[in-house]
Amino acid sequence: MMKVEAIVRSEKFEAVKRALEERGFTGMTVYEVRGRGEESGIELEYRGHVIRVDLLPRVKIEVYVEDDRVGEVVEAIMEAAWTGQPGDGRIFVLPVLEAYRIRTRERINSTGPGGSGGPGGRGS
């Protein structure tokens, strides 16, 4: 199992959610963050002064997903969140060692990190 972390524009969040839904990924956890990329924010010129607005609101979406479907999730997000302008965001994939569903108290990941099999057994 892996964890996909995507940082996207707030106004693109609905589109991303829909894109994931369409491909059958309903599970997700989201929260609001502030961030900036390599351009180090936006510059506003103002009567000679320049002010740099460096941390802009973004939404962070986390999706835990089986290894073999990571590519689909990344693609869905990438397409839906794209505008082509600076600030579109990033997607990162992290390894997950174990996963549990609290309601059923079962372990739910079939594999360990990196798709290479791993310490976890199939829970359900």
Binding site: E11, E14, I42, L44, I51, V53, L56
Partner: protein, 409 residues
């Protein structure tokens, strides 16, 4: 000069304070409806309206509105810098002249505040200030003069229809003028970035409700204060104002209920629609009439809002749908429901169709004038200074880009 009436003065002192508070009511009502990155700006636009219009009023606005007429078009310059306005009552009133000027000043200020709606989340500060000063001078002041200042519009309408149009507390002057002007501004300034793609949700319903509370409260000063006396007419105005607000809230709630869930924002919007519609009527109709007027206003503004959303029109906070539409509706319904035993003027239901005609003609003239002049002013300012920030600034938010502030931490 009239004689000073202490009781009237006591009430108008309170009423003026209440109407000033209404401008903050608009600030919070609108402030809650925008995104958090623009809330300080949205509040600031109303605050700016309050202080620039007040200064303009003292310098020239009161004179343009209420000084002896220059050819029926606009007031003369007799009261420039409030010359001659003192502690004694002006002719025909019984409150101090300074207080009369202050009461009317509060009306002028809130009118521009209402008109900040289409500037929401995209206003360039310099552009708004220039627009606001021009608009108050070229639209508000003449219209106030025509309707209340002894200006010539009414004699023209009277010539056409045989009746003098009536506007108790500003259904046309304040609400219709600002509402239709908002429409004109929306056409010039264009929709917010992202408006077409996705619904832009309000960031704080409680803040909007606080604004709504101050509006409802202040409106008693607005309407019952317009009696300029502490008498039965003021009492009537207060009662019908409250009932129209209640009926507007109820009818909007029911209308939205039939399509989904009745939201709290809908209820308070309906209340404001009812308050707007009763404004021209408050000194002319009775309590049961006001329930009907308020209920119709709630429905009309609800429909108008749905219509402008359908049309993809980003008149963002619905000054047009609520103030414009219900302002006109209320003015017309005043022609229907006016009762001789309340305000001395019979309406259609008492067998006097000419009042209705006068109300319609008056409304049409003010709508056309507001739309035309506002379009011209907005285009002019947009060309010279710009009404709107750059896309980058809009994206970052007006609070940071125009005010250098973050509203919440």
């Amino acid at each position: 000069m009239g004689e000073l009436d202490g009781a009237a003065t006591a009430w108008i002192l309170a009423a003026t304070s209440m109407v000033v508070l209404m401008t903050f009511g608009v600030a919070f009502f609108y402030g809650g409806l925008v995104r958090r990155k623009n809330v300080a700006s949205m509040i600031a636009l109303s605050l700016i309206s309050l202080f620039i219009v007040s200064i303009q009023w003292a310098v020239i606005g009161f004179s343009l509105s209420f000084a002896p007429s220059m050819g029926g078009v606009v007031g003369g310059l007799d009261y420039v810098l409030l010359r001659g306005i003192g502690m004694e009552p002006l002719e025909g009133t019984s409150i101090p002249g300074v207080l009369y000027a202050a009461f009317q000043m509060a009306f002028a200020a809130i009118t521009l505040a209402i008109l900040t709606s289409p500037f929401a989340e995209r206003a360039k500060l310099t552009g708004f200030i220039a627009f606001g000063l021009l608009w108050t001078t070229l639209v508000y002041d003449p219209v106030a003069h025509w309707v209340w200042g002894g200006g010539g519009l009414h004699s023209i309408v009277e010539g056409l229809t045989g009746a003098t149009p009536i506007d108790f507390a500003g259904g046309l002057v304040v609400h219709t003028a600002s509402g239709f002007s908002a429409l004109a501004v929306a056409l010039v300034i264009g929709p917010r970035l992202g408006f077409e793609e996705s619904h832009i949700p309000p960031h704080s319903i409680p803040l909007t409700m606080i604004g709504g509370a101050l509006l409802w409260f202040g409106w008693f000063g607005f309407n019952a204060g317009s009696a300029l006396a502490a008498d039965g007419l003021a009492g009537n105005a207060l009662l019908v104002t409250h009932l129209a607000a209640s009926a507007g809230a109820a009818s909007w709630a029911l209308a939205s209920w039939s399509h989904g869930r009745p939201g709290s924002l809908g209820m308070i919007s309906g209340a404001v629609a009812g308050l707007v519609a009763i404004t021209p009527a408050a000194g002319f109709v009775g309590p049961m009439d006001s329930l009907v007027i308020g209920a119709l206003a709630g429905l009309a503004s609800y429909k108008a809002l749905a219509w402008r959303l359908d049309r993809g029109l980003d008149e963002s906070l619905d000054a047009w749908a609520i103030h414009g539409v219900s302002g006109v509706l209320g003015s017309i319904l005043t022609g229907v429901f006016a009762r001789e035993d309340i305000g001395g003027v019979p309406g259609l239901l008492e067998g006097n169709p000419s009042l209705l005609a006068a109300q319609v003609v008056d409304a049409v003239i003010i709508i056309v004038y507001s739309l035309a002049v506002t379009l011209a002013i907005a285009r002019l300012v947009d060309g010279l200074i710009g009404l709107r920030v750059t896309p980058t600034e809009e994206y970052v938010g007006i609070d940071i880009s125009q005010h250098g502030e973050e509203a919440y931490r």
